[in-house]
């Protein structure tokens, strides 16, 4: 007899607590949605976000510090000359490897490499994930 009573007591308790829970969800039903319809709506990225790098080639002195500090060696730097006279031929960052740890930006003595707000990394090939910053800067200069 007691087992039967417990059985029905459990059912009543379950229905009661579910109703309480539904009360919480009902409250949210009439409030503003918190989700973003992502590809159409872009999230607001705060300042200091660690996204894809930006590189100022004219400031770079080819000191190689960013290449050395990188934990995963994803930066390739090729140059001629030294210091302010250095000519940078290649500054590639491989985003299939990059940890976005910000160490390269912190170690830079001339503050020429920063992390930007761009976070969209999807691409069709692996080669597209390697961004040639020096080449892009050269193209920009020509234009």
């Amino acid at each position: 007899m007691r087992a039967v009573a417990n059985y029905f007591r459990d059912i009543v308790a379950a229905i009661y607590t579910i109703t309480l829970g539904l009360g919480v969800t009902m409250k949210c039903l009439f409030s503003k949605p918190v989700t973003l319809q992502y590809p159409d709506e872009r999230p607001e990225v705060p300042d200091g976000y660690r996204g894809i790098h930006t590189y100022e080639i004219e400031k770079c002195i080819a000191c190689n510090l960013c290449v050395q500090i990188c934990p995963i060696t994803c930066i390739t730097l090729a140059y001629e000359g030294k210091g302010k006279n250095a000519v940078i031929h290649q500054y590639d960052i491989d985003y299939t490897k990059c940890l976005f740890c910000h160490l390269c930006c912190e170690v830079c003595p001339t503050d020429c490499v920063h992390m930007g707000k761009e976070f969209d990394l999807a691409s069709y090939t692996r080669a597209e994930c390697v961004i040639p910053f020096a080449k892009a800067a050269a193209v920009q200069k020509q234009e």
């Binding site: 308790a13 579910i18 660690r50 740890c101």
Partner: protein
């Protein structure tokens, strides 16, 4: 009857790509109908040789790797490694940096427990808590994003201090979050904690007695759920934790037996509230000063060894460092709480229902990134 029916036990693979396994964990379950006779855990699908990588990198370079151990509690991991190195190198951390580290670690603890709350609810069949947990987590992650620029792998605690100082805007947002979270906490309990069906699914399921918990080397909410009062933040304080007032929750068998799944779940829920208290205290008493100590550009540690342990959301995370005087550690060993906590799975997952295995695993709350390392 049994001879007539010719029943036999069946081995069932749960995982490595099962939604209830919290990552790439494979459980081999010997089932007799709906009853589980034995559970075997198979790990190693996410092994990345983190310790060996650490031995080939300088101390500064390894800090971002610690983010990827328990990826739900990156700041806690950073903190553990940084403290180990700082201990050995005798680097002094400014007071403000220590406070900010505590704040970051507690925010990360809440974020981690919110994931645990959501996923445990989902494993019990309730989808709503998952969304609710992630709604608040999003608010928190947005604040941490302003603090350090990342959303998951924070790399916030650095050798000698922290990455960036907080702005008045971050402080304001954090206070607002604390206020919101206190209200939401009550809602969470109405939604899940005291739901009769959830209680029936978790109470008296996967009971870990006190001695067994200690014997298996459990730490964190799993240990405290069994009624053992052991929290490194109280018992072996680090990073100025002794200055903050908070209580350590532990399981008391409120809904069933001491050490059941509900107790472990409840310890996490109460910890969220305690972490909110710590965050408020940090913001109230944040001292002025630098956020970075003096760290040499080329960091060479003296010959010796150091072991540092911190209280992660999942338990005791330890870093054992041996230095031979060079720029890289001679040996690095990581004691992951999830790995030790998972070892009890074989003992708990027997003579129970298949659905209980899911609840037990959910209540232990492992992160496979740390189990496999």
């Amino acid at each position: 009857m049994q001879d007539f029916l010719q029943t036999e036990e069946i081995l069932v693979n749960m995982g490595p790509q099962h939604p209830s396994t919290h990552g790439v964990l494979r459980l081999v379950i010997r089932t007799d109908g709906e009853m589980v006779r034995e559970t075997y855990t198979h790990i190693g699908y996410l092994h990345r040789c983190a310790e060996k990588i650490g031995e080939n990198l300088t101390y500064k370079q390894f800090v971002p790797y610690t983010d990827r151990l328990d990826y739900l509690a990156s700041i806690n991991n950073n903190l553990g490694f940084c403290l180990a190195v700082e201990n050995l190198a005798q680097i002094e951390v400014p007071e403000r940096a220590a406070y900010l580290r505590v704040m970051g670690a507690e925010m990360n603890r809440i974020a981690s427990h919110l994931v645990s709350y959501g996923t445990l609810g989902m494993e019990a069949g309730a989808f709503t808590p998952f969304f609710y947990g992630f709604r608040e987590r999003e608010q928190l992650v947005a604040i941490i994003e302003k603090m350090c620029g990342a959303r998951l792998t924070y790399h916030y605690a650095r050798l000698g201090g922290v990455m960036r100082d907080i702005t008045p805007e971050i402080a304001r947002d954090t206070r607002e979050f604390v206020r919101t979270m206190e209200q939401r906490w009550e809602e969470y309990n109405t939604l899940l904690s005291f739901n009769e069906i959830f209680i029936k699914r978790t109470a008296n399921v996967g009971i870990i007695p006190r001695d067994m918990a200690i014997g298996y080397g459990l730490t964190g909410p799993c240990l405290r759920g069994s009624g053992v009062e052991w929290d490194l933040r109280k018992d072996d304080p680090y990073s100025l934790y002794e200055r903050f007032a908070f209580t350590v929750p532990y399981g008391d068998g409120r809904m069933g037996t001491v050490g059941d799944s509900w107790d472990r779940y409840w310890v996490r829920m109460v910890e969220i509230k305690e972490s909110l208290k710590i965050i408020t205290q940090v913001l109230d008493g944040l001292p002025e000063g630098p956020i970075m100590g003096k760290v040499p550009r080329v960091l060479k540690l003296p010959v010796g060894e150091a072991y540092m342990r911190v209280e992660n959301p999942r338990g005791e995370l330890g870093f054992y460092l041996v230095s031979d005087g060079g720029t890289k550690p001679y040996r690095l060993r990581i004691r992951g709480p999830s790995f030790c906590n998972l070892s009890i799975m074989n003992a708990l997952g027997r003579e129970c229902l298949v659905a209980d295995v899911v609840m037990i695993l959910g209540s232990i709350d492992v992160v496979l990134g740390e189990v496999d390392r």
